[in-house]
């Protein structure tokens, strides 16, 4: 029941993803959370380049634990995506195609997703130990001084995520909650 997809995420790939699909993602993804987003957008405003190629890329909102000896990366579950909402529409406009996090997104983000075609996935919040096993390579590519908030390039294999808001604007948070709310009341 899981769909397997690979990065880079082309429009063709995401056009086939619907809210509710279970996905196993493989390939390169980039980590960035609060402070890294702030720096990326600041550098764009100054006319500088981003630390990685944004076109068809996927950003994972995460601040991993330090790895234990022998581990590639420490526990690395998603952080709350809403804190990145302020910065996201601009990144989508520049070609960001996928975001992995947890929790609601703003209307501005969803509108940008529809306009420029992007998809929002959730990974299970708190499942950091499980998700770390799917990371095969991890390398800091920018903002090393930020520690856990630095931008890492992860190479993931069969990373389990759920399509939560698709490029058509279907939103699993809204649809599913209503479904089970009614179901419970009906009993």
């Amino acid at each position: 029941m899981y769909k397997k997809i690979n990065t880079p995420l082309t429009e063709e790939i995401i056009s086939q993803l619907k809210a509710g699909d279970l996905v196993l993602l493989s390939g390169e993804i980039y980590t960035a959370r609060d402070e890294a987003h702030k720096r990326m957008v600041d550098s764009l405003n100054k006319g500088e380049k981003l630390p990685f190629k944004i076109k068809n890329s996927v950003i994972y909102y995460v601040g991993p634990c330090p790895p234990t000896p022998g581990q590639i990366v420490g526990s690395c579950g998603p952080t709350t995506s809403g804190r990145m909402d302020k910065y996201t529409p601009l990144l989508i406009e520049l070609g960001l195609k996928g975001m992995i996090g947890k929790g609601y997104r703003s209307e501005e983000v969803i509108n940008a997703m529809k306009k420029y075609k992007a998809v929002y996935f959730t990974a299970i919040g708190g499942a950091g130990a499980l998700l770390a096993e799917k990371v095969k390579e991890a390398k800091v590519v920018a903002y090393e001084d930020l520690g856990t908030e630095a931008v890492y390039k992860f190479v993931v294999e069969d990373f389990p995520i759920i399509v939560t808001i698709d490029m058509y604007g279907n939103n699993l948070y809204e649809a599913e909650k209503e479904k089970y709310k009614l179901m419970q009341k009906g009993e």
Binding site: G20, L22, E35, V62, G63, P64, C65, P66, P67, T68, Q71, G74, S75, C76, G77, T79, T80, G82, K102, G103, Y104, T122, I124, G125, G126, A127, G128, A129, L130, L131, A132, E133, G147, T148, P160, I162, T164, L172, Y173, A175, E176, K177, E178, K179, Y180, K181, L182, M183, Q184, K185
Partner: protein
């Protein structure tokens, strides 16, 4: 007078930080497992299975259950017949946190100033609650509290006339606003009474009670049951993606209050509501 070496306290706190972050308490683990059978959403069941698998991996491989290893909240129950020697209690606790977060490969998530936001790089200072009690026992509990659930917690000063209905509405509203952000299934800690700063403390200690254990007061026990049922009717479900398991328990703690006041605090615990205790 029983004497306890400050060094001993540091050692205990260090181990508790690591244990709490690697091992999900058994009552929570069992309750999550139990809910898989009852969860109505197929996606919800899949998420619960993964949550269980995650806790097993963390325990087996000795790695943190969640990457947000929290700010260390430390509850100290200290008997009045105890004397701490060769150091001071607060520094001994903070040193334990420092060592625990370093040696346990835990994420350091504390910033020095809430405005300037520079990481202290050792996860200190801890949030410490001291309670002096009778006897010569020392009990230390470490609760690593992540920000996902903490950020969605809330306090409201109700009017006495708002009564039980007002309390229920506020608890449900808080859970609803939290939605997926607080990483459900939740444990909902509710503190009622005291004053402005005491109600949230009550809500936080409510999270330490075992899942399934009811308040000893019958009326409050019933209120816990009712709230749990109503929260699970909201449809929010595991990770907010729909379903019948939004919370695995609701715990209420109360305290006397002023004739004019009705403070209610809701402290949300995610599905990784971790804590570990050591009694000396």
């Amino acid at each position: 007078m029983k004497e306890i070496e400050a060094k001993k306290i540091t050692e205990i706190v260090k181990l508790l930080c690591i244990e709490a972050n690697y091992d999900l308490p058994k009552d929570i683990f069992d309750a999550l497992k139990e809910r898989i059978k009852e969860e109505k959403s197929p996606l919800g069941r899949e998420i619960l299975k993964n949550i269980i698998k995650n806790a097993e991996i963390a325990k087996g491989k000795r790695v943190p259950i969640c990457q947000d290893t929290g700010i260390a909240v430390v509850f100290v129950e200290i008997g009045q017949d105890i004397r701490i020697v060769n150091g001071n209690l607060k520094e001994a606790i903070n040193e334990g946190v420092r060592l625990g977060y370093e040696e346990g490969y835990l994420r350091k998530s504390v910033v020095k100033s809430p405005i300037v936001r520079q990481n202290t790089k050792d996860n200190t200072p801890a949030i410490i609650h001291y309670n002096i009690c009778e006897g010569d026992k020392l009990s230390i509990t470490v609760m690593p509290k992540g920000a996902g659930s903490e950020n969605m917690s809330a306090l409201k000063m109700l009017k006495p006339s708002d009564g039980i209905e007002g309390i229920k509405n506020f608890v449900i509203e808080t859970v609803q606003n939290a939605g997926p952000n607080a990483c459900p299934p939740l444990i909902v800690g509710v503190g009622i009474g005291g004053d402005f700063e005491f109600a949230p403390y009550l809500a936080k200690i409510a999270l330490l009670r075992s899942v399934g254990e009811r308040n000893t007061d019958e009326m409050l026990a019933q209120l816990e049951e009712e709230l749990l049922q109503e929260i699970n009717m909201l449809g929010i479900g595991p990770q907010g993606l729909g379903g019948s398991t939004t919370a695995i328990d609701v715990h209420i703690e109360t305290y006397p209050t002023h004739i004019a006041s009705l403070p209610v605090a809701v402290n949300l615990g995610c599905h990784v509501t971790r804590h570990a205790t050591f009694v000396l």
